[in-house]
Symmetry: C3
């Protein structure tokens, strides 16, 4: 019995890693989009495909959870972690799509700064998830979680600067409407990385 | 003992059906409002009354949940399903009220399209809930859940078209501000129908 | 064994009270800000410090929860209550910061009305939490919860009036964009107070 359970546990960790990898990939694609902004970029379709694939992984985890009696940690934590990792990809795909629909003609420099932080946060999340899945884990996992928290604070400061600039000058109302939403959506992506870090910290604390 | 438990289970299913019916009714009233848009329509008050009634049903479920030891399926799933079904009615009432406060003078055709999808999704949710409550259920329930997922994708495409049109022409900023929010609120309603479908799918998967 | 458990329970209640006190303090500071609106006010920094302190209390509760086997009521309810109480402070700090970034030059009177209701709701929440922590509790706790519900309805009506006024006159688009968001954020704060009341009502119902 124990023999058959170990692979199941490993399978959950494997799938979390697939999700975290998708987050890193999505953030990198979005960063590429922002750097070379072009409404005809093939990256929009690639991000949509990536988001669909990530959905399938997430459903696989939830399906496995519903069919597994013994899980490596609390069921509600598995559910939360899977949902939050999936949300990172969803949020990134959704912002890029919204920017296309808004027919953004060129990107504000503050966006590039925020997306840079988002990309770094997705990498820190990936490292946390990857260490978390390995044997001798708790020390390094926490280091990566702390890094996510640091990046979230950096993101907050950048958002404040971005919104401040937007409403300081003689920005057109349509511009303000669009960018207010875009900036905030990127911040929501960074916040989601922090939620993942908190969920992982909570799981480790329970395992004492 | 078993004898006394069955009615309790049935009661939960009955109340979910009442909630799902309220969702269908709210969506139909909203569709009627949008087709014959009139800031003085009595439908605004009727939607508010319906939303209050739906709240009472939701509290009845949660109260029953807190007082019942044996439930037909996991407590957290009952809680989630009741909250999500209630959210459908809340979102519909809230959008219609917001549109009135925005003094929308005439409805954009994209709104009618989105609300049509919302109405269809609420009917698919009602069918899923109703089959779910019956004996020989799982096959047909899943068919209705798949239909909700299909409608959610249709809604996403319509939202993209609606937002694209809004920011393509020479829309006034105030118009853009109002409609950006209204379109998105309808999409949130459709998303909530999909959440209900996912919750039901999850419950069925656990029951194996 | 029982001897050592009682202090632990009391500790949870103590920490909830610290959180609720922070909510009252944040709402009072925000009310002060709104009454004497000044972009250079030291209250912005004080609110940020208060929000950081409240975060530490919240982490203390979640940490304690992860390390405690016997809890005064269901783990998920402790988690929900701690998160919701923390959200009240977060929302208040976030609105005030956003208003500063928007360079709001003077406050609309409807904001003062909404913030007054928020301040009253935070006091009712504090009273509910404080009675909840005492021995002979359920009657008075429910009275305070009913008061929060009443205030939430009052807030809804005020929000409707505020949004209605905003879109009735010849408000500039930039003003409409800013105030639409600020009003709604205050309402979200009041809604959060209602969520706390619902969570407490649910805990009491379970304790029957």
């Amino acid at each position: 019995m124990a023999f058959s359970l170990i692979p199941k546990e490993e399978k959950f960790y494997e799938l979390f890693t697939v999700q975290a990898d998708a987050g890193v990939k999505a953030a990198a694609m979005f960063q590429d989009l922002v750097r070379n902004w072009d409404l005809e970029s093939p990256l929009f379709d690639q991000l949509r495909d990536l988001e669909h694939e990530a959905d399938i992984t997430t459903h696989e985890i939830k399906d496995k959870l519903n069919r597994t009696f013994v899980t490596p940690f609390d069921r509600e934590d598995i559910h939360a972690l899977a949902s939050e990792l999936d949300d990172i990809v969803d949020i990134i795909q959704s912002i890029s799509n919204r920017m296309r629909l808004y027919r953004i003609s060129s990107c504000r420099p503050e966006l590039a700064e925020l997306v840079h932080v988002l990309a770094e946060a997705s990498v820190a999340v990936q490292k946390a998830v990857s260490c978390f899945s390995s044997a001798d884990k708790s020390r390094r996992v926490l280091d990566h979680c702390i890094e996510v928290n640091r990046l979230e604070n950096e993101g907050d400061a950048l958002l404040a600067k971005a919104i401040g600039n937007l409403f300081a000058g003689d920005t057109e109302p349509m511009e303000a409407l669009k960018w207010d939403r875009c900036f905030e959506a990127v911040e929501r992506g960074i916040d989601k990385c922090e939620e993942v870090a908190h969920t992982i910290e909570g799981i480790l604390a329970k395992q004492g």
